[in-house]
Symmetry: C2
Subunit: 463 residues, 2 copies
């Protein structure tokens, strides 16, 4: 007989890193000559983080991994799998994971499975599922898994530019976790579409069809939700509705889409005649009952009405997840988990026993809706300690707001540097927190070199 | 109590596709003005396959997946996971997996997990492990997994050019397989090195340090083998040696490296005083006992002597795995599995009950040595049926040998087309086998369009 699977496999710990450099959306809006509220209300965004020339997806992930290991006193030898999700390509062959091996090699641990998972903003979710499956598989060797989501989202000058952002998130995976995967409550929708893609290989900027991408996102959301509801009903013998989860966490390109998405779930509940929809809501949504699927994605009236009906539920079930995505912007693969980190930050002391639904979307397209069940856990792997160790409020507060002229200048330099060789950076790490890794040089063979700003205890460690 | 894991999870079926266009290494050697035997004996290669302008990694993988589903009468709805390993980047965000979704979407199946795994030639192995773990995990929904390795290896004019190749392999994954993973007999070595990488984003060609890459490969091989031997000894209470596996299958950039690699395992056995080394071998290898690790990678005498000692074992345990890699060339992620397919082709009727060791290497670097245990299986998922369905001899025989001038012309066109938009191909599929997918157009928005050559039964199906 095969051995039983490990129990309660999930996320033991989370660390988040985002650059200390940011720009207020209100300020950018004025600088760009956009109509007042276009970025702040239209997109629903407050602020945008970005990498300067000393940071990139590799340095951010080095920082996040190193910080997680230190904060939780995890011996690097105790990691048996390390996977990265990213869509920020610095090298088309060498994985970001191999850069992170520097942290483990120096401790003599090179026996670590896993590489990079890639598909737009979904790669981190694929890496996370892979890591959880590993712990549940016969290949598991008793050590921790580690999942890293790292991305820098930058756009060409124009209407998409305010939807940038940058962050890295590291998650420690193992059994007996406070954040457990309900692996049967999960549905995916994957399809061949060209909504957002990166075919211009020597440019960091994507090709985006904004309207198509939003529709693809909402269609994938509908498909996942319908499939998940069907699976839940077969499994539990009762209907699923938004009442069956305490919180809903969405991949957040910009907050307005999250608002629309949650309203869309409510509209789905209405169409399915679910118990989450009361009499008054039914009356308000009744005029939209006859819309075809296509029409429903185009109807401004439906969008407005469903968001209005959803508002009190949104405030309760979604708003606590929006802090970091609104403050940092789109972090691509890290975006969904930054939203989840926001929830832990805001609600860690009331989350035990609760179900949280997550929706991951990557253009191209790949999408999964999945369920997590939370328990308080055991120190150091407890919800309260995760919230405290992430230290989100302090990280947000200690950021430096740059003026638009400086932001534009940095974007120009980064554009020039993308794919380039043979340069040294300013090595100016004055704005970086102690313990942060930064880029020092790309040599004539395109090899990248990083250093680490001294920790508060004075230790320095370069690579 | 958690449910037990699925048993005998592994590979149920394999399909291999390589382009019908190739060039003899002997002919290329003469054309390039290289010394006689440089490619054929020096590299150990016979022939090289390559894509013409109507084929790429997407068309090859569409062909391999479609062909596998057809040959084994697998309903596309019965696939619950699809993963791709590749290092040939056509888009930096949109995965190859999403292109393959076209086959499944038309059958109404979009609930298929998995994306692309990337790290040089290792991505396919990562995808394979992920898929096996999925079947063993609590997330498994009873459906098949599907792993695809697809790559086109092309090099700039010069000494590396004859080490190209191209292929796609599809593997069906599930329980009760004829090719079973011995998941505890597995060891990895991952490190941060710059031996082969692709930092020049608008070029298909890699940056390669040939000598360093070979040393990194052999060092990773040593590290994996040592670690695997240790794990085996703890598990089985006895020493592991090359006598404990019937066959050894290597990632094959070129055959000469496979010869060196197997000799290296034998040298490891000698250093460990393993039972595979007889008195005469001990005497021949004794002079090298005192070499340091570094010296041992540089010593030509050791290389020559260990290969001489290893020759009879090589002929027995490795030679049957070399057919396709020698005939098609380096297929990057598909290379290791093309070697394994060669073994199934050559030895399928004597493989039941045997153990086969595989060594996967991806520059950057990532490497794993792992063990498969074979049984005859049940039709259609039997070793003999897999060998028959792959039809390797016929596929090799029906290829078209092109002259060097034509090969160079095609390489120039492909170089020009890499990353380009707004062109139509010749749509000339006269050399392609019935049922093969091919590229017809890349439009002004970089969107790629494919068609399928009519099957022998006359059915056509474009995308």
């Amino acid at each position: 007989m095969a051995p039983p699977q490990q129990k309660n496999v999930g996320i033991l710990a989370i660390e988040i890193y985002f650059p200390p450099t940011c720009i207020q959306q209100e300020v950018l809006e004025a600088h760009d000559g956009a109509s007042k509220g276009k970025y702040t209300i239209g997109l629903g965004q407050d602020c945008m983080g970005f990498c300067t020339e000393v940071e990139d997806v590799i340095s951010m992930s080095l920082t996040a991994v190193n910080s997680l290991l230190e904060k939780y006193a995890v011996d690097p030898k105790q990691v048996g799998r390390l996977e990265v999700g990213s869509e920020t390509v610095i090298d088309k062959s060498k994985s970001i994971k191999t850069f992170l091996m520097q942290i483990f090699e120096k401790c003599g641990n090179t026996d670590i499975e896993g590489v990079d998972s890639t598909n737009a903003c979904y790669g981190g979710t694929a890496a996370l599922f892979n890591c959880v499956n590993w712990v549940e598989s016969s290949s598991w060797d008793g050590r921790y898994g580690l999942v890293v989501c790292t991305d820098s989202a930058v756009y060409a000058e124009g209407p998409a530019r305010p939807t940038g952002g940058a962050a890295a998130i590291a998650m420690l995976i193992g059994p007996n976790a406070p954040i457990v995967f309900e692996s049967k409550i999960r549905a995916s929708h994957m399809a061949h579409v060209y909504d957002f893609y990166k075919p211009i290989l020597d440019s960091e900027y994507p090709v985006v069809d904004g309207k198509l991408s939003q529709t693809c996102y909402l269609m994938a959301l509908d498909a996942c939700y319908k499939s998940l509801c069907n699976k839940y009903e077969k499994l539990e013998g009762k209907q699923f509705s938004i009442a069956d989860a305490a919180y809903f966490v969405f991949h957040s390109p910009y907050n307005k889409l999250v608002q629309k998405s949650f309203a869309r779930l409510l509209f789905n509940d209405f169409l399915r005649n679910a118990c989450s929809i009361d009499k008054s809501a039914k009356e308000k949504l009744a005029p939209f009952l006859s819309l075809s699927g296509d029409e429903s994605y185009q109807s401004r009236d439906l969008e407005k009405t469903s968001q209005q009906v959803a508002k009190p539920f949104y405030n309760e079930k979604v708003q606590p997840t929006t802090l970091i995505p609104k403050q940092v912007g789109n972090m691509y693969t890290a975006s969904l988990y930054a939203a989840f980190a926001s929830l832990l930050h805001n609600k860690h002391n009331t989350l035990a026993g609760q179900r949280v639904m997550l929706f991951s979307y990557g253009s191209g397209s790949t999408a999964t809706m999945f369920s997590l069940k939370l328990n308080e856990g055991q120190h150091p792997f407890s919800l309260s300690n995760i919230a405290s160790a992430m230290n989100v409020a302090e990280k947000l507060k200690s950021r430096h707001e740059l003026v638009p002229e400086k932001f534009v200048e940095i974007m120009q330099l980064m554009e020039h540097r993308y794919g380039a060789k043979d340069f040294v950076t300013s090595k100016d790490c004055s704005l970086l927190a102690p313990g942060t890794y930064y880029l020092t040089e790309v040599d004539s063979k395109y090899r990248r070199f990083y250093a680490k700003k001294a920790s508060e205890n004075g230790l320095v460690n370069g690579h």
